[in-house]
């Protein structure tokens, strides 16, 4: 957290930390202006207690129909806050009364507008009673209501026309500067193989001052750890934070300009001069991790491994956050299904830091993606032995064992249910699926049932899940429940086959939109 005069800037790694910062600062009823390439507005399903709190049966039924998504988990809504849904929680907690999403400008405005419309409609389709879209224009301006509160989605070029009179909460994600096209096939990531940015912090701050937007509290998220911001561009966040607080010195301007120049096409064609310029700057600023890391990457591209390794070591010495599993594009590429590119990126980076503890986890995920089960089992066991108790290790090891059929080993690898945070929900779901499947194979009928029921509590409803429950109840000879689950499985399977126009749709208040 940094402050200058009345301005406070809270720099966070994961964007959901912004919610906790607003809550701690005691904000209420504010307008939130959110600069991001992602809406960060996934729904947080309410708990059954919220339903049982209603004062009458008719209120209860009306709430039930208006909110078609419920989470029967024992965790509170706040405990389930993560970087994809923290704005929803901020609205529910009355911190935010109006939400303005400013999304990046793209040269193809029509495509960008269609992408934003699709994002908003898919969110609104989940709960048409709670999120209604009211107005849309060809210029990419959208208006709607969430829980009766105003929502605006505006492109960057137009936000100056909608500046509110009162002081706002300013919330910026660094990936806003990097991910430009919301319709790109790489979305929600940028094209991580050629990191770049479409807007500089200097232009952004100049536009912000020109807009007359009033703010005293800024949250700025790096988003490196989820792979949205390539580590090479983390310096943009540092530059932005400093520019928001004060004017930069000539020396700082020169340093940030040199770093930004690295990502211009002209510099890419002439890496020699870029290396020379960085080396000169490093002489003047020997403890700047961003300079060292970017120089290391340039040297790596030129296959100067010893030189790159030395610069990398200096970077992580100056700033240990540069030693992360997201210091290369592999995790994002793997998520996008580009396995070969992910493997190449990983192998190249491993030459600089072969003993990076974070890499072993990525290697395990790579082996699983490549279906190399035997190697994955060996590595998974090694990781568990070394005390790496990440949920991905246990699930990865169990999945590999399940494929090679040492079921007892899979059961042991899964062990007791891990304590997982809200941000690891997808691991929790994967864990439960695996545990249920292993338990069923080992004839641990009650364990399997407990896992499938927990999956239902997490909102999982698929034909496969209900078919498995029908099978288990049949084994238990509870034909009553077996029949009910089989009927549900059939209903869901038929529903999945129905054409798209049968599915829930977003509600538009104006037919002219």
């Amino acid at each position: 957290m940094a402050g200058s005069g009345s301005l406070t800037i809270c720099v966070v790694e994961d964007h959901d930390e912004a919610y906790h910062a607003w809550k701690k600062a005691g904000f209420e009823n504010k307008i939130l202006v959110h600069f991001d390439a992602h809406i960060d507005f996934a729904w947080i399903a309410p708990t059954p207690e919220a339903l049982l709190e209603q004062s009458s049966l008719s209120d209860m039924l009306s709430t039930l129909h208006r909110t078609p998504f419920w989470r029967l988990s024992e965790k509170t809504e706040e405990e389930r806050t993560h970087l994809g849904n923290y704005i929803h929680q901020a609205i529910r907690a009355n911190i935010v009364r109006e939400f303005v999403w400013v999304y990046p400008d793209d040269p193809d405005q029509a495509k960008q507008t269609r992408a934003v419309r699709s994002i908003l409609e898919s969110t609104a389709a989940v709960a048409p009673g709670l999120f209604r879209l009211a107005q849309a224009t060809d210029a990419g301006y959208f208006e709607g209501r969430i829980y009766g509160r105003r929502l605006l989605a505006i492109p960057y070029s137009a936000y100056q026309a909608y500046v509110p009179q009162e002081e706002v909460l300013l919330d910026i994600d660094l990936d806003f500067f990097i991910i430009q096209s919301l319709f790109s096939r790489h979305y929600p990531y940028a094209d991580v193989r050629t990191p770049s940015f479409w807007l500089s912090p200097a232009e952004f701050v100049a536009d912000l001052h020109a807009s007359g937007l009033r703010y005293e509290f800024v949250t700025l998220a790096y988003s490196v750890e989820e792979g949205y911001t390539p580590l090479r561009l983390k310096f943009l966040g540092m530059e932005l934070a400093q520019r928001l607080l004060r004017s930069l010195s000539e020396d700082e301007e020169c340093r940030f300009e040199a770093l930004r120049d690295l990502f211009r096409p002209s510099t890419r064609r002439d890496p020699e001069s870029a290396v020379r310029r960085l080396e000169e700057l490093i002489e003047a600023h020997p403890n700047d991790a961003a300079l060292h890391f970017n120089l290391a990457m340039l040297m790596l591209e030129r296959n100067d491994i010893p030189g790159a390794a030395a610069q990398y070591r200096k970077a992580i010495e100056d700033d240990p956050t540069y030693r992360t599993r997201y210091n290369h594009a592999g995790p994002a590429l793997l998520d996008l299904g580009l396995r070969r590119a992910a493997r190449a990126s990983f192998e190249r980076m491993r030459q600089l830091d072969p003993h990076n503890p974070h890499y072993r986890l990525f290697e395990l995920e790579m082996l699983i993606a490549e279906r190399d089960w035997a190697q994955a089992i060996l590595l998974g066991k090694e990781l568990l032995k070394d005390g790496v108790d990440h949920p991905a290790v246990r699930t990865g090891l169990a999945e590999s064992c399940l494929h090679l059929r040492p079921y007892q080993e899979a059961w042991e690898a899964l062990g007791p249910e891990p304590r997982v945070s809200a941000s690891t929900t997808r691991y929790e779901i994967r864990y439960l699926w695996l545990k249920a499947r292993v338990a069923e194979t080992l004839n641990h009928c009650e364990d399997a049932l407990a896992c499938y029921h927990k999956l239902i509590r997490h909102g999982e409803h698929s034909p496969g899940l209900h078919r498995a429950l029908a099978r288990l109840y049949f084994r238990k000879r509870n034909f009553f429940k077996a029949r009910r689950h089989l009927a549900k499985a059939i209903r869901l399977a038929i529903l999945a086959l129905t054409p798209r126009w049968w599915r829930p749709k977003a509600t538009w208040d104006s037919k002219t939109s």
Binding site: P48, L52, Q54, L64, L72, H453, I456, R477, K481
Partner: protein, 106 residues
């Protein structure tokens, strides 16, 4: 386990005690019990008689005691009440909304 065992097992006996399953969240609203089965993701509300039985399922009363309580509260033939209560309990048991109490508590 044979089919006969299954049928006999499922019919509540007069001396047995039942309690509500822990995964069922419930509340009495406008005189009716509203239930949420967290395991199955089901929401249901019971009628007056069903709510009366549901409230009595505290693991302390036997099936016979439950029936005699209802006999005093509702004007219905005793044999009919006995049959309906046992049928209702069997259904709740099959839905795993209730379970047999471990040991009788005094």
């Amino acid at each position: 386990m044979g089919l006969k065992d299954l049928i006999v097992r499922s019919v509540p006996k007069a001396s047995e005690r039942y309690e509500r399953a822990p995964h069922v969240k419930w509340r009495l609203l406008e005189g009716r019990a509203v239930l949420i089965d967290a395991n199955e993701g089901l929401f249901m509300h019971l009628n007056d008689v069903g709510s009366g039985i549901w409230q009595g399922l505290d693991g302390k009363k036997s099936v016979d005691q439950l029936i005699s309580d209802l006999d005093n509260a509702f004007d219905a033939p005793s044999h009919r009440l006995r049959k309906d209560v046992r049928k209702f309990l069997r259904r709740l048991s099959l839905m795993e909304l209730i379970r047999k109490a471990e040991s009788p508590t005094v």
